[in-house]
C-alpha cells in the first residue's frame, strides 16, 4: 500500500491528452450510442417519463378499440382542454416536489384567486386584465405565506399547506357566498379553452417552436465549441428535432380536421395549446438553465450539500413556493375558462390529481428528480383515464378508483427506481 507518486504531476492541462479524453468521454458520437446510453440510464433506474408514456399508449389503444368516438378529432380536442388545467397544475407542483416538499393547497389557492377574479370581473366590475393581475397577486401572496412558514420557520410543508387547504376553502366560501355560483364573463379568458386558432396559425405555432429549438441547439453547440468542449453528434440533435417535427405536424394536421357536428365547421389547434406550451418552455428553461432551477434540484438531492456550497436554501425554497402558487393560479384560469363559472368547490378536488399527474409522470415524491414534461405526460394519463372511462359510461366512482390505483402504481415505481439508483442514502 505504498504509493510513491512523488514527481511533479501537474502540467498545463488544456493540451494534455488525458484531459481531452476525459472531456470527450460520454459525449455521444451517434444515434446508436445515444440509444445505448439511454438504455443504460433506464437500467440504472432513471426511467423518467417512459412508464407514463408507455401507459398513455396502452390507454389510447384500449380506449381507441373499446369506443369508436375516442380517437376522433372532437374527442382529442376535448381531451386537451380537459387535461390543460391539470398539466399546468402538475407543472406548478413540480417546483415544490423537486425540493421534496408538497403543496396540498395549490388547488384551493387557484380556487380563491378564481373566485375573486370571476366575482369582480362581472359586467359592472373590473376590467379583466386588472382582475387577472389581482388573481396572480393572490397566488403570489399565498405562495409567499407558505414559503415563510416552510422555508423561514421550518414547519413541514404538508402541515402548512393542509392548513391552508382547509382555511382557503373558507375564504372561497366567504368570497362566493354559500351555494353561490358566478358565471365567467370576460370573453378573452373564455376563448382560451373554447376557441381554436386558424388553420394557418397552428402551422405557424409549430414552425415557431421548431425554429426556437433549432436556434437553442445551434447556440448551445456554438458555445460548447467555443469553450473547447466536444459536442454530441449532430445526428442525435437532428433525430430529436425530426421527431418533434413529425409528431407536431401529425398533431396540427389532426387538429385541423373539421370536428363540427353539422353545419358549422370547427377546426384548428385549441388556443390553450400554445398557452400551455409557452408556460412549459419558460418553466423548463428556468429549471434547466438558471441558478434558481439548478439549486432547486440540488436542495432536493442533498440539502446540506447545497447549503455548504453557498446556496441560499431559504430563499430558493421560498421562491419555489411562490412560483408554484402563481402557476397554480394560471391553471385556475384554464380551469374556469373550461368550466365557465366559479363556485365554492372550485379547485378543491383537482390538487390531488395534480400531485398524481406529477408522480405518475415520473416526478419523485422524495425530491430531486423530475421534469415539467413528466408532469405534462402524467396529467394526460389522468385526463385520458377520466375521458375514456367517461366515454365508456363508467361512473365517476370508477374513474376515481382507477386514477387512485394508477397513482399508487406510479409511487411504487418511483420508490423502486429510487432504491435501484441508490438515491436513498443522502436525503435522510
Amino acid at each position: 500500500m505504498t504509493t510513491e507518486t512523488q514527481g511533479p504531476v501537474v502540467e498545463p492541462s488544456d493540451a494534455s491528452p488525458a484531459a481531452q479524453s476525459l472531456l470527450g468521454r460520454g459525449v455521444e458520437q451517434g444515434v446508436f450510442e445515444h440509444g445505448r446510453s439511454y438504455l443504460r440510464r433506464l437500467r440504472g433506474g432513471e426511467m423518467g417519463a417512459l412508464p407514463a408514456i408507455g401507459g398513455l399508449l396502452v390507454l389510447f389503444i384500449i380506449f381507441g378499440s373499446a369506443h369508436s368516438a375516442f380517437l376522433t378529432p372532437r374527442n382529442m380536442a376535448n381531451l386537451i382542454t380537459q387535461a390543460a388545467p391539470l398539466v399546468v397544475l402538475g407543472m406548478a407542483l413540480v417546483f415544490v416536489l423537486l425540493l421534496g416538499e408538497i403543496d396540498l393547497s395549490a388547488g384551493v389557492t387557484f380556487g380563491v384567486a378564481m373566485a375573486v377574479f370571476v366575482k369582480y370581473t362581472q359586467p359592472d366590475g373590473l376590467a379583466w386584465p386588472v382582475g387577472l393581475a389581482l388573481a396572480m397577486g393572490i397566488g403570489f401572496a399565498v405562495g409567499a405565506t407558505i414559503g415563510f412558514f416552510v422555508a423561514k420557520i421550518g414547519v413541514p410543508s404538508f402541515v402548512v399547506t393542509l392548513g391552508l387547504f382547509l382555511g382557503l376553502q373558507g375564504v372561497i366560501l366567504m368570497v362566493i357566498g354559500a351555494g353561490g355560483t358566478y358565471r365567467l364573463i370576460p370573453e378573452p379568458i373564455k376563448a382560451i379553452q373554447n376557441s381554436n386558432m386558424p388553420v394557418w396559425a397552428g402551422w405557424a405555432m409549430l414552425a415557431a417552436l421548431v425554429g426556437l429549438l433549432v436556434l437553442v441547439a445551434m447556440w448551445d453547440r456554438w458555445r460548447r465549441a467555443r469553450s473547447g468542449a466536444p459536442n454530441p453528434a449532430l445526428s442525435i440533435v437532428l433525430l430529436k428535432l425530426g421527431t418533434i417535427v413529425v409528431l407536431g405536424a401529425a398533431f396540427v394536421t389532426f387538429m385541423n380536421l373539421d370536428r363540427g357536428r353539422a353545419a358549422q365547421a370547427i377546426m384548428g389547434v385549441p388556443i390553450v395549446v400554445p398557452v400551455v406550451l409557452l408556460i412549459g418552455l419558460i418553466g423548463t428553461f428556468v429549471l434547466d438553465r438558471t441558478r434558481f432551477g439548478r439549486y432547486i434540484y440540488a436542495i432536493g438531492g442533498n440539502r446540506e450539500a447545497a447549503r455548504r456550497s453557498g446556496v441560499n436554501v431559504t430563499a430558493v425554497k421560498w421562491s419555489a413556493f411562490v412560483v408554484c402558487s402563481s402557476l397554480a393560479v394560471l391553471a385556475g384560469v384554464l380551469y374556469v375558462s373550461r368550466v365557465g363559472s366559479a363556485d365554492a368547490s372550485t379547485g378543491r378536488e383537482i390538487v390531488l390529481s395534480g400531485v398524481a399527474a406529477a408522480v405518475v409522470g415520473g416526478v419523485s415524491l422524495f425530491g430531486g428528480r423530475g421534469r415539467l414534461m413528466h408532469a405534462a405526460v402524467g396529467a394526460f394519463v389522468i385526463a385520458t383515464i377520466e375521458n375514456g372511462l367517461g366515454l365508456l359510461g363508467f361512473s365517476a366512482g370508477a374513474t376515481l378508483a382507477v386514477s387512485g390505483g394508477v397513482l399508487i402504481l406510479a409511487a411504487t415505481v418511483d420508490a423502486l427506481a429510487r432504491r435501484r439508483s441508490g438515491g436513498g442514502s443522502t436525503n435522510s
Binding site: 504531476v9 501537474v10 465549441a225 439548478r294 430531486g368 438515491g423
Partner: protein, 249 residues
C-alpha cells in the same frame, strides 16, 4: 516557500465553561500535507471549523500568507481560498459530476449556464489530479463508487483554485484500494502547490501521505513533528498523552 500559508497563533475556543482549544499554535505550508491527529475530543474538529469560518475562534491570531485575517463566516474562508472536504462528502446524488463540482459557483454566460466551459474546467481539474476512472463527466454522482465520490469532492476544491484544502477523514469509509487511490490524490494535490490539512485516525494513512504531523491532546498542541523523523509509536504516545514535547518542532 518558507512562510506558512496559514498560521495560527495561540487560538482559543471555549463552549461555556469548557475550554476546547487552549491556545493552539499551528501552521500549514503550501505544497505540504499536514496531518492533524488526536483522540476524540482533542479539539480537531473545533480547530478545523474555525478555519472554515463555521465556528470562529474566541481568541488568538490567524495569519494568512503572513497577514492577519478574520474568519467569521464560511464566505470569508472561501474568499481566502480555504476549502473543506467534509467527511460526509456533501455531494448531490441527483446531479452529475460537473454540476456538483460547480455547485454554488456556476459559470454563466448570457444569464444561463456555460456548460461547455464548466466541462472543460472540470476535466482539467480532474486531470490535474490524474483521475482517469470516470466513464463520463455527465455521470450522476449517485452512480459513483465511494472513492470516486471522494475524488469529485476533492476535485471541487481544485476547480475553486483553493490554496488550503482541509480534508476531514477522507478515507474513513473506503476500502483498501480506494484508500490508496485517495491518498495518492491527496499527495498530488499537495504537489500542485496546495497546502493540505488532513484529519485522520488512521496512522498508517497519516504516515503514508503526511509531511508534517500535528498532535492535539485535550485542546493543546502537544507535538509538531516531521513525518520522516518520527514513528507511529511515538505519535501514539503523544495522542494518548503518555509523551509530551514542550518545544515545537
Amino acid at each position: 516557500m518558507n512562510q506558512p500559508i496559514i498560521e495560527l497563533k495561540q487560538v482559543t475556543k471555549s463552549f461555556g465553561p469548557v475550554d476546547v482549544l487552549k491556545g493552539i499554535d499551528f501552521e500549514a505550508r503550501a505544497g505540504r500535507v499536514t496531518a492533524l491527529v488526536g483522540d476524540n475530543g482533542a479539539g480537531k474538529s473545533t480547530l478545523i471549523k474555525g478555519l472554515a469560518g463555521v465556528q470562529p475562534y474566541d481568541g488568538g491570531e490567524v495569519l494568512f500568507d503572513g497577514s492577519p485575517v478574520h474568519l467569521h463566516h464560511p464566505r470569508e474562508s472561501a474568499r481566502h481560498g480555504i476549502e473543506v472536504v467534509y467527511q460526509d462528502l456533501a455531494l448531490c446524488d441527483n446531479l452529475d459530476i460537473v454540476q456538483n463540482m460547480f455547485l454554488g459557483r456556476e459559470e454563466m454566460a448570457g444569464g444561463t449556464f456555460d456548460e461547455g466551459r464548466m466541462e472543460v474546467e472540470a476535466a482539467a481539474a480532474l486531470q490535474a489530479l490524474s483521475v482517469k476512472t470516470m466513464t463520463s463527466l455527465r455521470q450522476k454522482v449517485a452512480s459513483l463508487s465511494g472513492g470516486q465520490r471522494q475524488t469529485v469532492a476533492i476535485a471541487r476544491s481544485v476547480v475553486k483554485q483553493a490554496k488550503v484544502v482541509i480534508l476531514d477523514e477522507p478515507t474513513a469509509a473506503l476500502g483498501v484500494a480506494q484508500t490508496a487511490q485517495v491518498l495518492s490524490l491527496v499527495r498530488r494535490l499537495a504537489d500542485s502547490g496546495v497546502a493540505v490539512i488532513i484529519i485522520s485516525h488512521n496512522l498508517q494513512d497519516v504516515f503514508e501521505v503526511a509531511d508534517d504531523i500535528a498532535v492535539l491532546y485535550l485542546g493543546t498542541m502537544t507535538a509538531r513533528l516531521t513525518a520522516r523523523e518520527t514513528n507511529p509509536d511515538e505519535v501514539v504516545g503523544y495522542i494518548t498523552g503518555t509523551k509530551t514535547q514542550e518545544a515545537a518542532a
